[in-house]
């Protein structure tokens, strides 16, 4: 299992998914924003958390569709499925999604605070945003895994089911963003949405891999 994790992370890094690239990616995304919404600083600082979340979401969606296809194309997927008695397939999926998250999203989460400074967000907001990112983004990877598995299994019909599944991402996003705003906007409390986010992540961390594994079993053809 650890071996699988290491392999996938390594692949991610080889592809230039290294920490440096992650930070650069974030910087690039952020740099585009002011050009469109204009240099209004306090508007920026309000947009801050949303921008961070959007960047993270994009980063985790990039290459997610290849999560299993890459393994299918070179035949590794067959062997991963064959090893089922040894490593439960859901666990395998879980590890793969986690590796994807580690290679592509974690660097961004780590970089988030600095970028917060860039958009002169207040410390509280920065902390909250980083925290919610850390808690929320894995969920995206897990949901995405289902979509990826389904599209591998039935390339044609895959679309349909992904339509049903991927919208789960939006709630994650919404809770994440609202939580990070709750941290600054006085009246409404930070914890409730954050706990919801955590719950959602844990829930998806279980459901996602199980569903994806179920789909993959029929993927081998």
């Amino acid at each position: 299992m650890l071996a699988l994790f290491v392999r996938d992370v390594r692949l991610g890094i080889r592809a230039g998914g290294s920490a440096l690239t992650g930070v650069l990616f974030f910087l690039a995304v952020i740099a585009t924003i002011p050009f469109s919404v204009g240099p209004d600083l306090n508007l920026l600082s309000r947009l801050g958390p949303a921008i961070l979340w959007i960047g993270a979401l994009l980063a985790s969606l990039l290459g997610l569709d290849r999560l299993f296809q890459a393994d299918r194309d070179d035949g590794s997927l067959d062997l991963l499925i064959l090893a089922e008695e040894r490593h439960m397939l859901p666990l395998t999926v879980f590890v793969k999604s986690l590796a994807h998250w580690t290679a592509n999203v974690l660097p961004l989460v780590a970089a988030a605070p600095f970028l917060g400074l860039f958009m002169n967000m207040e410390p509280a907001a920065i902390g909250a945003a980083a925290l919610t990112l850390l808690a929320g983004t894995p969920a995206i990877a897990f949901v995405g895994a289902v979509g990826a598995a389904v599209t591998v299994a039935l390339p044609r019909g895959g679309l349909l089911i992904s339509v049903l599944i991927l919208p789960l991402v939006i709630p994650v996003l919404i809770f994440g963003v609202s939580a990070s705003y709750a941290a600054i906007a006085e009246p409404d409390p930070f914890l409730p949405p954050f706990l919801l986010l955590l719950g959602l992540t844990l829930f998806l961390a279980v459901i996602g891999p199980v569903a994806a594994a179920a789909a993959l079993r029929y993927a081998a053809d």
Binding site: A15, S18, L20, L24, P34, F35
Partner: protein
């Protein structure tokens, strides 16, 4: 049994770089001492120069900020030219020049950003504004870093050379944007006052130290660049020799 031919070929390839190494060996010390001299004089003149009556002491930041900014753009221009060298003239050194210039350029750009924002704090009351010039320089920094990341990600030097060259050329669009951002968009940042068609508008007492400093930093840039190129060439030689060795070992096994 083609090792000898192989080794000879790989050294024949390096013949031209070899000449460059000899040249660099001679030039580097000269350039280094020259730039040191210029910088020393420049600094003296800078502090001898009159203070700006409204900006006060902070105006002196200009003497490093502006050269850094200029060099940031010049370095990218040099990279673009050497990119042409790689793609069009297939010059063996062009690729080395591009690859090694990137980190230096990135540093200068970063310095321009830092000095700029240090200057911005007293002038504009804030470290950073998302104004056109500032952001375009920021984007320039991003492009430098992107090129560095790319050259790191592709291991095979021949291939990464082509890729980086193409990318650099395409990225060159940004340079005019930086240069003219101040004219195109109404920015906090002040417009060009030295490189203008209708001659510099900045007062000579400020102009001269600026020019001397600029020259000093430019010389410094070339010194650093030459040293970096020398290292890169030597690194590649070592790699070539290692490959030949590895192949010898393989053949012995087979």
């Amino acid at each position: 049994m083609n090792q000898p031919s192989a080794t000879i070929r790989s050294f024949a390839d390096l013949a031209n770089p070899t000449r460059f190494l000899a040249l660099a060996g001679k030039l580097v010390p000269i350039l280094a001492s020259l730039s040191a001299a210029f910088l020393a004089v420049g600094l003296y003149m800078a502090f001898a120069a009159p203070e700006d009556f409204q900006q006060g002491i902070t105006v002196r930041i200009m003497y490093i900020h502006v050269p850094f900014a200029w060099l940031a753009m010049m370095c990218y221009t040099i990279m673009a030219v050497s990119a042409l060298g790689t793609l069009v003239w297939r010059h063996p050194l062009a690729d080395v020049a591009l690859k090694t210039a990137a980190p230096i350029g990135a540093t200068f750009t970063a310095l321009a950003l830092v000095t700029g924002s240090i200057w911005g704090k007293p002038m504009w009351g804030t470290w950073w504004v998302w104004d056109a010039r500032l952001t375009s320089v920021f984007v320039l920094l991003l492009m430098y870093l992107g090129i560095i990341a790319l050259t790191r990600a592709l291991d095979d030097p021949a291939r990464s050379a082509r890729a980086a060259a193409v990318l650099t050329l395409v990225g060159f669009i940004n340079i005019p944007i930086i240069k003219f951002s101040v004219e195109w968009w109404n920015t906090l940042h002040q417009p060009a006052s030295v490189f203008r068609l209708d001659g510099p508008t900045i007062h000579p007492s400020l102009l001269w130290p600026l020019i001397v400093m600029a020259l000093g930093f430019t010389l410094m840039f070339f010194t650093l660049h030459m040293m970096a190129m020398r290292n890169e060439i030597l690194r590649r030689r070592v790699r070539a020799i290692q490959r030949v060795e590895a192949r010898r070992a393989e053949r012995r096994e087979a």
